[in-house]
């Protein structure tokens, strides 16, 4: 199997002190592991390496891009036209909903002010594209094409058209790694949309179900209930659909029921995703990219002027905008 001429030269030649070199490498690896687990000093190094590997990731995504391109080329004009019609109809429906949403949100916020509750904030979103998936099915993450250059921060939530996908766990110059809600290291605080019951949805490593932890046997949950993110813990924005209850098992004699839910987001199919920006800092970075809806802003500013807003995050001009880029 090996070329003959290199055989003689390499068969007896071996670097010296093999055992020592192995020991060195092992010690160094263990030091790296401990540093990486305990501290965050290695993050810049990871950032540099993964930024420099970006071209390869781009290339490895190429077959998929190519096949998508081919399907597009061979789509007939009729199909495209009918697709366009469907989309126009859908856009009309959605626009009607958002017309009402502006006034409903304004009214809701006025009512919340009467209750001295803090205002509901709407988040800005930026469209991003999936550019890579985890090579390892036990380690569920995806890569998206926005990074430090676009102002992405660790901890931001990522949505698709149907619901919550996951959160950003690592950022390099051009790419970010998003941990999916189905990974078995992930948990998301949720509430049942019907009655507000709070729970925590744990990923179990399977793309098509999550598990609700510590739900009392007598709790009011039903198959088909929608779970939305509760916003507790401050990591995820409130009110986005996360999953739908698919199965409830009661165990007589045990305190908690086993409740499974099916994620609303198409975790393994969506390619166009939304990155949620809720901090003002992030918004400033992105303000040039965003298309603002000023009308809603005006309504809220008026109602805001006399109220007792103390928290910085309730800055009127910053957070009442609904911003959509690229849609």
């Amino acid at each position: 199997m090996f070329a003959k001429e290199s055989l003689i030269n390499t068969i007896f030649v071996q670097g010296p002190y093999l055992g020592y070199r192995l020991a060195m490498a092992l010690i160094f690896s263990v030091i790296l592991i401990v540093l990486d687990v305990r501290f965050s000093q290695l993050d810049p190094a990871r950032n540099v390496i993964s930024s420099s590997l970006t071209p390869f990731q781009w290339l490895s995504d190429f077959p998929q891009k190519l096949s998508n391109g081919f399907t597009f080329i061979f789509t007939s004009r009729d199909e495209l036209e009918s697709e366009l019609d469907v989309m126009r109809d859908r856009m009309l429906v959605l626009e009607r909903q958002s017309q009402k949403l502006a006034s409903v949100t304004a009214e809701l916020n006025r009512l919340r002010e009467l209750l001295s509750a803090s205002r509901l904030l709407d988040e800005g979103v930026v469209v991003t594209e999936l550019v890579g998936a985890s090579p390892d099915p036990n380690n569920q993450f995806i890569l998206i094409d926005k990074g430090l250059n676009d102002g992405v921060l660790v901890g931001q939530a990522v949505l698709d058209a149907n619901g919550l996908m996951g959160q950003v766990i690592e950022v390099n110059e051009f790419r970010s790694r998003v941990l999916l809600i189905s990974d078995n290291r992930h948990a998301v605080p949720v509430q049942v949309n019907r009655n507000g019951m709070r729970a925590i949805a744990y990923g179990v490593g399977s793309l098509d179900h999550l598990e609700l932890g510590n739900v009392p046997d007598t709790a009011d949950v039903q198959v088909g209930d929608l779970l939305v993110s509760s916003g507790l813990g401050g990591r995820f924005p409130q009110g986005y659909p996360v999953a739908r209850i698919s199965q409830i098992e009661h165990h007589p004699g045990q305190a908690f029921a086993t409740v499974n839910a099916k994620p609303e987001a198409l975790l393994n199919r969506s390619r166009l995703l939304l990155l949620v920006f809720k901090e003002q800092v992030a918004r400033e970075v992105l303000s040039s990219d965003l298309v603002d809806q000023e009308s809603q802003n005006g309504v809220l500013d008026a109602s805001m002027s006399e109220s007792l807003m103390s928290s910085e995050s309730l800055d009127a001009n910053a957070d009442s905008q609904r911003s959509v880029e690229g849609l």
Binding site: V13, G15, L32, S50, F56, S60, Q64, G132, N139
Partner: protein
């Protein structure tokens, strides 16, 4: 002539190709069966040029694998260094093995690599991987003969 200087271009080419294969998106059904391309490539060059490729390069490739898979720094490099040490211990005998026996040894070696990685992952974070690694090791062993033929060809072309 080529005995003195190895063509580093081929080595780089094979490692880049292995990295692509490691990253390319597979359908969900197939993804538990992805061969360990980078490990196989490392073993191939260890066998071919044990005087040039060694534990240091195993360490570097391991770090790259850590970044690609998003695991802690050092996990893959530790496993790959151990496997490389084992390969360097048996490389004189390994050349003489018939292909079937080589494939079996590759099964054991990549099994060791995966076992170490999975054990570390289970120790450092929550994980329940079951016996997936056995499938990956089996597929790696099946891929080995093809990989050797292709790489030999490449090395011959770009000598």
């Amino acid at each position: 002539m080529m005995t003195k200087s190895m063509n580093w271009f081929v080595v780089a080419l094979t490692f880049v190709a292995a990295m692509m294969l490691e990253l390319v998106a597979l359908p969900d059904m197939l993804s538990p069966f992805r061969p360990e391309w980078l490990v196989l490539t490392q073993i191939y060059w260890l066998l071919r040029r044990p005087d040039r490729v060694g534990i240091a390069s195993a360490f570097v490739i391991g770090i790259v694998m850590d970044v690609l898979t998003g695991s802690y720094f050092g996990v893959h490099s530790l496993a790959l260094c151990i496997v490389s040490y084992l390969v360097l211990g048996i490389h004189k005998r390994f050349r003489m093995f018939p292909m079937a026996k080589q494939a079996f040894v590759i099964f054991v070696l990549s099994g060791i690599q995966l076992l170490i990685v999975y054990a570390m992952r289970a120790a450092l974070s929550v994980a329940d991987n079951g016996f997936d690694y056995l499938w990956q090791a089996i597929i790696s062993a099946l891929v080995w003969p093809i990989l050797v033929i292709v790489y030999d060809r490449l090395a011959f072309t770009f000598r």
